[in-house]
């Protein structure tokens, strides 16, 4: 017998009601109350109705925490993602129109995960990193879910290492970080293939030969992979390609893209080319490419006539800018869905399966900024796009 609860059932001491209260009020045991919620059919209808009535009257809501604790599962999957906002775009005047059109990675992944999670009866807990939180982000999430996905480089590797020993974790995008983490499932996107194909397109289909690549940090795995794709395509075509990107940006923001474009233009010497002018600027992501479009417009450089510009990612904004941005589209939504599938399977039958490593294919999207496409806009309901 548990100690008498410090509350008289009739005498207005409002604590949140528990199974005990419902049980007492409906004249059954707490086990029966529990059954009514977990497995209604295992309780006689008459009884069940009495219990539900009591619950209603008391305002009873089962405690997820208590349930989770007792049953060792939460019915929740998690997602940790970095604070991905582009400082350029994230102005104080929040609801600008650009902002609206600006749907990031994480939104797509969230959509994908939410949808898949729902299909499997899970809810989704999302949390973005915020530097200097008291406890590490992961810990907060990890303690509340049955398994979770992490966007690469969101959380310290060591934290992940500890946590992934206790529950399923799938790493999204970016290559395996290190051998420490090789027991994680892992889904990546074909960055190298995509950039190679896009570069090939510029070289072979548009006949461009003087290309430059603007990359990201050395430790940004996606940007690095894209650069490798670029190198490969150049070399395959017999064009020179250095060991390093022509330029590197730290945050890969629009502002940096604009600066890069300026620098590239200045580098060649202002105006008519003594050193032959660049024919194509390839950026490691769409944000930079869009910033570059702005900068080029300001300087009166025509795209794609004077120079072709390409990005990578396939963010919606890339389609709204003029000229529309040629890019490589990442299947972020699918990434989220696959992540959930992997988690669910590992929580079920495949508890001890070997870690998998999926590579999702990407699409080259040819728009106006590389010299493709450019149908008249009027009468076209879906936005011009060349195959």
């Amino acid at each position: 017998m548990r100690f008498q609860r410090s509350r008289e059932t009739g005498g207005r001491v409002s604590t949140t009601p528990t199974v005990y209260d419902v049980a007492e009020r409906s004249g059954v045991s707490i086990a029966t109350v529990s059954r009514v919620y977990r497995n209604p059919d295992s309780v006689r209808e008459k009884t069940r109705e009495r219990v539900l009535a009591a619950a209603r009257e008391l305002g009873y809501v089962p405690s997820g925490n208590a349930r989770g604790l007792a049953s060792r599962s939460t019915g929740v999957l998690g997602l940790c993602f970095p604070d991905y906002s582009d400082p350029d775009t994230e102005t104080e005047a929040a609801d600008t129109d650009d902002d609206h059109a600006f749907m990031l990675y994480s939104d797509q992944i969230i959509r994908g995960m939410e949808r898949a999670a729902r299909r499997h009866g899970y809810a989704l807990l999302i949390a973005a990193s915020l530097k200097g939180g008291p406890e590490s982000l992961v810990a907060k999430v990890a303690g509340r879910v049955d398994g979770f996905a992490v966007l690469a480089r969101t959380v310290p590797t060591e934290d992940l290492d500890v946590i992934s020993r206790r529950l399923p974790v799938v790493m999204l995008a970016g290559p395996r970080e290190s051998d420490h983490l090789d027991h994680l499932d892992h889904i990546e996107v074909a960055n190298e293939d995509g950039q190679r194909e896009l570069t090939r397109h510029l070289i072979e289909d548009h006949g461009l030969r003087r290309l430059v690549f603007v990359g990201g940090e050395e430790r940004a795995p996606d940007a690095q992979a894209r650069f490798r794709g670029y190198q490969e395509a150049c070399r395959a075509a017999g064009l020179p390609a250095g060991e390093e990107p022509d330029l590197r940006a730290e945050m890969m923001t629009q502002a940096e893209g604009a600066r890069a474009a300026d620098a590239l233009l200045d580098r060649a010497g202002p105006g008519d080319g003594a050193s032959a002018p660049v024919q194509a600027m390839l950026f490691a992501n769409d944000q930079m490419a869009i910033g570059a479009l702005h900068a080029l417009e300001r300087r009166g450089v025509r795209v794609p006539d004077d120079v072709a510009v390409t990005g990578f990612d396939g963010i919606p904004l890339g389609r709204l800018v003029r000229p529309a941005l040629t890019t490589v589209r990442q299947p972020m939504r699918q990434l989220g869905e696959e992540a959930v599938e992997l988690l669910v399977r590992r929580l079920g039958e495949e508890r001890d399966r070997e870690p998998v490593d999926l590579m999702l294919p990407v699409d080259v999207v040819r728009r106006a900024s590389c010299g493709c496409a450019g149908r008249p806009a009027h009468g076209d309901l879906s936005g011009a796009e060349a195959g």
Copy 2:
């Protein structure tokens, strides 16, 4: 003394480690382990390090459930939203380009809530309704969060009634459902004002006089409010406006919008007008308006030359279609942020504050489909928009 745990600390029986394991391994009490995570400064540094080392070695992660249970709080806020996917758009071939551009309400709200929640140190739990789940959606969410927001008409009123007695709930969009729920905080959007202003624009600025309004279900409060705004503007201008929308759509999808446009055209008699032709079709949401644009194009009716078309919501897709859709933009992101602010405040100082009822202002966005705007697209980086 609790019963001996059925696990030898040295003898490979891998259970997930608990405070007890960490305590034992580091030679302290479980209380101290707990302190290390909750309030590190209250533990001597030497001790703390020993505890953390042990935790690391064991792969210890605090159980969110146990913590929540013991401390009666979760550090999580929730959002329940309906399964809002437009069946027309949600084809099996998931990653179509339209789909990409199609960012719903819920995404915006999620963004807003996530951001605000993060600022306050909360994580966000999201769950969409799925008909026929075993337990009601709310119950699942409600038990795991400190407070949550619900999109109007996502969950049965009675469930909300019970739950909102136990934890803070804020209702988003749509008017108060009933007097039962008048202890909930509530945030709505100025549907009526927005539609009134948009309608006034068509009448006064474009000189249109033969308007029709395509609404939603009678029980869809937003659509109803919009219709009222339409009525008011018509009457203010001395134009006739019936007691009912000219047409109602059940799901307010693109397909229904297309059908509505067809019906409206057929109603007037095919071809040259015996009964004077409609000059403007106003739809209760963007989805329908976009469907209508398709239908009109198929029939060779020019927009806005032959007929003006408007929507409501401000979804990104509305900007991509041609002609770009004139609409009223809802501040969904802000809706999410305000919701979190309300919840956080009610969880803090304002526990017993009177329920509030916020009304967020909207913007009329004038684009080409009403006859406004239409700047050349080339060289315009942000997409044409008239003030």
